[in-house]
Each structure stands twice: as C-alpha cells, then as structure tokens.
C-alpha cells in the first residue's frame, strides 16, 4: 500500500448506498479509476452483519487496486475485514481505546473541528486528522460549526500530523481548500452523487 500522506490526497468517504447513483461498489470502483487514493467506509446500516458484508466487498476490490480502506467508527469492523485503519469522530471510542484495539500497524484518524480540540489531541495516537466541516454539508447530520478555509489554514499550520479537509467540498472550492496546505481532500457526495464518479474524481484530482 502507498504511504500516508500520499494516500490522503483524494479521500473518498462512502455515502449512503441510496445516495450513490451507481450503487456503492460501482461508485467506489469508478472513483478509484478516477484517482481516489483512499476509501473510508462509513456505514449507515443498523446491523453490523450487513456492514460487514459490504466492507468485505470493498476490501476485496480495493486490495487488488492497492487503495487503502479505512472504516469509520467501528473498530471491530475494521479489524474483521483487515482494513488499513479506522477513522473516529469525537463521539466514537476515544483515540486511546481505538489505538489499543487497532495496534500500531493500522492508521487512525480523528475528526477535529476547532483549535480547542486540536490542542487537546494526543497526536502520538494518530496518523492524521480530518478537519471539518469546511463548508455546510448535507451528507452528515449532527455536525459541528463550519470551519471555513481561513481557519482551516490556521489549524493546518498548528497540526503536527497530516490534515484531510472534509465537509461540503466540491470542485468549485477544491483549489482554495488545497491552498490551505492540507494533505488531502475528503469528499462524499461530490463523487458518490455524481453521474460519472470517475470523471468527478479525475477533476478533483487535477486541482492542486
């Protein structure tokens, strides 16, 4: 697998299957063809068995393409499908617990919204942080205040580890987000909701 932060460059967060125009798996295949460098599987299934089957399918199709897979929130699912790591939010298992379960060999990312959170973070536990939402987003309910690109640049400058920007990132704003100094752009609907996810990924990849 490629290294971080290279893998963070165009970071796809899977949207709910009904929001993927091509369906989840075909969307991911197309997105990777278009240049997505990492996939975070975020499940909306209430039952972990269905999520496990989906994550296994993603694992198989990404492994042959040498694209890393992270699993959102569910460390058990990440371990069960031998994912490359996990991403946790501030309301998930705390980073200490997540790192202990994952071991040292898998990546761990943590959502961060503001300077207070950033300064309270134990970066020795993490491989990267996701900062957002940069812009308003309809993908995730129950999100933190919008960060904006100026504050993003300040946070990036103070982060000792690579940063992925997330939340409301579209092609139109991608260059301004890249200019904040991030290692990568994380997108969900801009690729999953596209008629042509490969083209959408390719266009985002060309920015910066």
């Amino acid at each position: 697998m490629p290294d971080l932060p290279e893998s963070l460059s165009l970071y796809l967060v899977t949207d709910a299957p009904d929001r993927c125009r091509l369906g989840l798996l075909d969307t991911v295949v197309a997105a990777v063809e278009g240049g997505v460098s990492l996939v975070q599987y975020r499940t909306v299934h209430a039952h972990k068995g269905a999520a496990y089957a989906e994550a296994q399918a993603l694992r198989a199709l990404l492994a042959v393409r040498r694209v890393p897979l992270l699993v959102n929130d569910h460390i058990d699912l990440a371990l069960a499908v031998d994912a490359d790591g996990a991403h946790i939010g501030r309301r998930d298992l705390p980073p200490q617990a997540a790192r202990r379960l994952l071991g040292p060999g898998r990546w761990l990312g943590l959502s961060t919204n503001n300077l207070r959170q950033l300064e309270a973070t134990d970066f020795s536990l993490l491989d990267y942080i996701g900062i957002g939402p940069i812009f308003p987003t309809g993908t995730k309910r129950d999100v933190s205040p919008v960060v904006g690109v100026e504050k993003l640049a300040c946070l990036v400058a103070r982060s000792p580890c690579p940063v992925v920007a997330i939340g409301g990132i579209t092609l139109g704003v991608a260059a301004s987000v890249r200019a904040a100094g991030v290692a990568g752009l994380a997108v969900a609907s801009a690729i999953c909701g596209a008629v042509n996810p490969a083209a959408a990924a390719r266009a985002l990849r060309r920015v910066g």
Copy 2:
C-alpha cells in the same frame, strides 16, 4: 469469575436507560444484589463514546462484585472495556469474525430463534446460545417469531451448549421456562422496569 453455565442462571440484559426506573447503574447494582449472575450491556446510544463510558462504569461496578459482563453486538466495545465476552445476534458480525476478534478467552453467545438456525450453528465458536423470544416482548423491536416453552424444550434438547431463554420472561412464567431445561433466564424489563430491581431479581432467582 464464576464459570459458565453457572453465570447464565439469571442473566440481565440492560434496558434503555429511560426504561430503567432507577437509572442504568443503580438498576444493575440492585439487580446484582438481588442475585443477577451476569450482565449483558445492550446499548441504545447512537454514539459509541457514550456507550464506552457507560460500559466502563458497568465494568468497574461488576468487577468488584465478581459478576461477568458481556457486551451486545459491539465487539470493539467488549474489547475496549475488557468485558468477559460478547453476545451477537443473527444480524451482527458473524460468529467466525466475532470469535476471531474476541480470542479464545472470552465468552461468545449467539441469538437463536429456531431449529434451522440451531442446526446451522458452528458451536465450536460459541459458549452458549440465547433462544428467544420465548414470549412476546416490548423490549426489542424487530424480533423473530415467538418460540414458546414447548419448542424451547425441543431446542434445548438439541443444543450441544448451554441455553439462555430470553424474551418476555416474567416471574409468572419463569418456572415453566426453567422447566424446559435451560441454563438460565435472561430478562430485561422484568428487572430494569421494576420499582425494586433487587426484589425482582431475588424472586426470579428463587424460581427453579
């Protein structure tokens, strides 16, 4: 910790906090005072951080009382709080994956509703099975068909591992369920919803 199947004898499944008259932790303390021999933590929290805090609190109060703790569904949570094991349903991670993550030293139980499921079960992965719902229950939505005590007795006779009966078990029917040959009774609302959970547990404990 005591052994299985002794621990299965009076098996408390935690109800939603707002359905525990004394609150979750005080309910569990009282239930253990009354003779509950094992606690399965079933969370209703959407965020695993809150569930983790709750499970840690349960772990601490049960450890000093030498009462085993299992965690429902979330193997990561079970490992993170060093629980004695986990219980999974038919829609959770499959038993193979759950056992791999738990290792050989923790208990694993699997929900079972009928003979077809029982006959398809790989018992080498499991320490016990939970059969139910024996009676109609309001605790859990989205449940399987009611088993009843006659069919329960047939399933118990064919199970190579200890059986806990679950679903709608009240004091009034406890003796008939025990008579089916189970290792234990699993209850949620009959204890969590009681004005006096200790007395409710004590009364259930006296049956059989």
